[in-house]
Every structure is written in structure tokens, then in C-alpha cells.
Subunit: 224 residues, 2 copies
Amino acid sequence: MQEENIHKFEKPSVTVDMIIFTIIDKDLKILLVRRKFNPFKGKWAIPGGFVRIDESLEQAVNRELLEETGVKNVYLEQLYTFGDIKRDPRGRVITIAYMALINSLELKLKASTDASDAQWLSVNNVPSLAFDHKKILDYALKRLRWKFEYTTVAFSLLPKKFTINKIQTIYEIVFEKKFDKRNFAKKILYLNLLKGEGIKKDVSHRPPMIYSLKKNIGEIIKII
Amino acid sequence: MQEENIHKFEKPSVTVDMIIFTIIDKDLKILLVRRKFNPFKGKWAIPGGFVRIDESLEQAVNRELLEETGVKNVYLEQLYTFGDIKRDPRGRVITIAYMALINSLELKLKASTDASDAQWLSVNNVPSLAFDHKKILDYALKRLRWKFEYTTVAFSLLPKKFTINKIQTIYEIVFEKKFDKRNFAKKILYLNLLKGEGIKKDVSHRPPMIYSLKKNIGEIIKII
DNA sequence: CCAAAAGTGTTAGTGATACACCCATGT
DNA sequence: ACATGGGTGTATCACTAACACTTTTGG
């Protein structure tokens, strides 16, 4: 035998599952879907699905994301791969978990009615989840906070133009604490990531400056 | 249909691949194996293999690690999952990459002869690798440095008892730069991670203090 | 005039870095 | 006595955190 046989072993199934974060009403929310089928029929689960043989993991995630939320070109990050033998009662299923950050203004699926099988629910009030999805959520929250601290991912949750206060607010939501606004503005502006975009009009108080991100910087830098 | 069918889709193959780090002769090395079969017959690759249907990912990694190096109970960390469609010319293969840190004293497979099909090679002098293994190595090196900076994983490369100088040396090897020994000792001791274990005898200079790690702390703390 | 959020500097404390000399042992 | 690595303190600098008042607009 000159070529190793990749079909010698029985293959596991492979899925991608996603924690999709957005901020609605000053609250960090994730998208959950109610399962239509067994196992865990009727339970909440995070969106996901099988990886097709002819698509990459990123393609699979983007496809599922588009199906569930109607958005594309959002911030996506692979989190971790969960492969316990018993994590799916139907058989061996390995899942590659991702997180997505979506600016809620782009969403077609907005705050949905209670009857819907897909809903945005606050991370502080998540129901019991199917499979090991709670573990995935906990992992995602840790990663999200870390990324907020050291990278510019936070801006993915905002529209292109924003005020300093908007940024501070999403940091306060994610870290569940208040920051001093002088120190916050000082840090953000000192990093030289932002470009002035004029002044916001039609507010019933002193008009704030508007900024945009110069470019989405991949590097790890200390933000907060 | 009440139960979703997990066998609806053609399944990819799933492997685990490992970057196994150790320090030999004051040099950071990884284990590479020469491929016996096509594709890439004769090329160097990182160790790995198919995940069996009845073992978890960690079990698969530990099994492969034991086969290749004869060691168990070493530091293991999942890195990232690589799933490009064309990464393996034989077909669709998704690989979950891990890194392992091994104290070279525990190795059965020591610096091997040139004829061997498994060798420890310096990360600074790695030959061209099969598949996308270079990408995995680059990722592992970044992660290793990050982990050295923020956690106590470095101690996994040392025997249970060690001197401050030994720790400093592995940090210098991994970061490829020198640290000031007063500042280094100050930082490490200040963290309160170490327990004194007496004094090292039979050295032809002032005998150094020996330490051990109090416990392997999972938390993220700033080390360097 | 009032309400609401924007904008802006200084000080004190903490942690990081730079730097040099004497010590204990084996040969 | 010499060679080898071990052990130790201080001063400066940079960064972080705490803290309050005035400004601009709409209603």
C-alpha cells in the first residue's frame, strides 16, 4: 500500500455551532432556536448544522448564519472543538464552535415574538440548553470578554459611525461594570484607531463627535 | 420524522495533529515524523492520526502521543481546527490541532539518529512540511508564547524541582531574548507560585535554591 | 431655564525597567 | 586563586485609576 487509506475508520459526523452575539436594548443577547426534532425536541439550542463535504468550516458557518439571521460578512471567530463521545445521543458528533458578532441594525430577525422558534435572549437569562451548548456559551463569553480587552472586535457590534459613548456602553454591557468616561475616552482616543467623522446633530444636549474605525486591526493590543 | 438524521450527509474524516514541544540542549524543538506513504511520502509532518469513533479527541491525542513519544500525562492544549476542503489531497479531512509540552527528561525517544523516521527538530530550522502543517506550527508558536506570558505552562517543560535560572532559561528560549535576572526572579517569586525545596548541592559555584510549583494554576495571570 | 449628555486635566499610586556588586562552591 | 553561576536593592519612568466641573443643545 502506497497511499494511506482515509476510509479505514468509521467517521464521526461533524457540525458547526454558533454563539451569535448582538446587543439589543442595552443588553447582550444570543440567538437561540427551539429544536423541532428529537433529541431535545422543544429545548433551546444554539444554531448550527452539519458541515457538508464540499464546504469549508467557514463556509458552513456563514451559510448557517445567513439562514438564521439573514446577515453576512460579520465578525466570525472559531472558538473550540467539542468532541466528547456522548455529547450527542444520536451518535458520534464532533462540533466546531464559532462565535459571531452582529450589529443589531443589520438584522432582519429582530426581537421576535414568543411563538417564534428563534429568539434573541439575554445572556443573563438563558434557559437550559440542549447538548453541551451551555458549555459552549460559557466558553464564548470568556472569549468575548478577552477579545474586548485586547482587540477591536467590539466595533463589530456597532454601526460604521458611532460616538465614544456608544463604545463605552457596549464595553459596560459586556463587562457588566461601569467605566470612568474620562479615562475611557482617553484610552480609546490615545490608541489612534479612530477617525473623526463630524458632529452628530439633532440631539437634545450637547452634540457629540462621531467617529469611525480607521481599519479593523487584527493585532492584539491592550484596550481596557 | 421525529429524529433528525445524522447520517444524511457524507461525512468528512477527522484527525488530530499535534505540535509536541520540548527543550533539548537549550533549544525549542518539535517532534516531526517522516511520512511513509503518499501523499507527501518522504516529507516531514507533525504527528497525528484519525480519531476513532469510540474515543474522545483528548483520548485520540493521548493515544497518538503515547505511541510517538512514550509519555503520558503531559500538558495538552487544543489549538484550532483546520478544515479547508483541499488541505488533504486524499479527500475531505478536518483536523483538530493540539500542542503538547513535554519535559525532555521523560522522553524515551531522545535526540534520534538521522536514519530515524521521527526526530526532534529545532523550531528555528524546520524543513518544509506536509499538508498545512506549517500553518499549524506557526499558530502553535504564537499560542505557546502567549501562554508563557500569561500562564504557568512553562513549568510543564521542567522537572518537578528546578532553580529560578532554569525557568528563566526556558523563557529566554521561547521568547528568543534575554531577561534581566533580578527582575525575572522578583516577578516569579512575587507571584507566590513557588515553594522552596532546599538547596542544590554538588555544583561548582554558589549552590542555588530549588523550587517546585505549588500547584498548576489554571488562571490567566501576567507572568512576564 | 431646565434636562441631558459631552467634553476635558491633574494627581497619586502602582507596576515595569534599568542597572552592578558581592557570595558560595568546586577545582 | 580562579572560574562559575547565585543572589540581591534602588531609582526612574510609564501607565492606571480616581476624581468634578463647565459646555452645548433641544424643549
